[in-house]
Symmetry: C2
Subunit: 189 residues, 2 copies
DNA sequence: CGTAACCTACCGATCTACAGGTAGGTGGGT
DNA sequence: ACCCACCTACCTGTAGATCGGTAGGTTACG
């Protein structure tokens, strides 16, 4: 079963790339250090992914697949599932760090992940709007439409991640996110 | 007046560094490209800032000075001044991009700006809490304490910046921020 | 006043260290 | 016999940093 072994290798490489990108960002990551982590030479790695950028694209695609599986894309989430997602993220600093680092880099000129993130955020906002509409209808308790609240919801998730990554002990990410949801719901504390 | 000329040069260099970091991030920025922008060689630049990291530190310090002048530090802002700040930022994509790129990078291991941002965010949250307390007292209309709302306020500002940088036409940053403030205030739309 | 000593603001050459990528193998499984 | 999964060797480019200048101005002092 050579084929299976090969697929396994690719998965190993992607996992290692995720780690290295988390540690050093995309620009700071080197093929050599990714290769080393899976017991390959840099050139051996290039056998699987012909360029550094191809590796990045594969990483992003996998993230996409992971995101859209679990029923997010069409079916959508519900608000309480978002809450669990944040809790889940709080236990996986590695993944959060990878994508926060990439997001930060991606706003620089000509970054290979820029288009990916641009499209992704458009889609995420649309998803968020759907979730909110499902939960609240055309007007949230605070008076916003789902479309107006969606960028805020997205921003809170991302912004909290940065604060939490910089100092996990200073920010209770899931707690703060719940606070925000309460704000959206217009609940009393 | 050799001294004055020198100070001017340093200021030029810092401005150029800000630009280059916005375009390529810190890791992607090169001393040569910064130097070129002010009509120096790379070695000439190193005469003013002995290492790349020293240059970054100087950039961050200047930002700090800029931030804390204008009466932010002790006296604090008020909520409506925050609103103007966001509007102001929306007209200065360069600055926003520089610090968003740096923030993103700074969560990677051993990044020279990491400590700076960690401390800075602690301070920003404290400032935000003060602003909120000044405006609302110990309980905001939504029921949160100033300390609980501060990370959210901060997160919204940062998160919106990323969405806006990726696609300015897709996000009305000042508008969205006002929406959030309305949520905090518990106003009807 | 003049000149020697010194300082400031640079530049050219060069070193070291990778980084990404190419070319051309080799060896084991099918 | 063949091909997939690698490796060795190597090339090219680039980045940060050091070294040793040089030109021009400044200061100290006889």
């Amino acid at each position: 079963m050579v084929r299976a072994r090969s697929e396994e290798r690719r998965a190993d490489i992607l996992r290692a790339a995720l780690e290295v990108i988390a540690e050093r960002g995309y620009r700071g990551a080197t093929l050599g250090s990714v290769a080393e982590r899976v017991g390959l030479t840099q050139q051996g790695l290039l056998h699987y992914f012909p360029t550094k950028e191809a590796l990045l694209v594969a990483v992003l695609e996998e993230r996409d697949r992971w995101d859209t599986s679990g029923g997010r894309d069409r079916e959508g989430w519900r608000l309480d599932l978002l809450e669990s997602l944040v809790e889940y993220n709080a236990m996986r600093p590695g993944i959060v760090q990878t994508f926060s680092a990439l997001l930060g880099e991606s706003v620089t000129d000509g970054h290979p992940a820029r288009e990916f993130f641009t499209e992704r955020y458009a889609q995420v906002r649309a998803n968020m709007a759907d979730v909110l509409r499902l939960e609240f209808g055309e007007r949230l308790p605070g008076g916003l439409t789902p479309e107006r609240a969606a960028p805020l919801l997205t921003a809170v998730m991302d912004g909290l991640q940065y604060q939490w990554l910089l100092d996990p002990s200073a920010v209770d990410m899931p707690g703060a996110f719940r606070d925000f949801l309460r704000l959206l719901r217009g609940d009393a504390p």
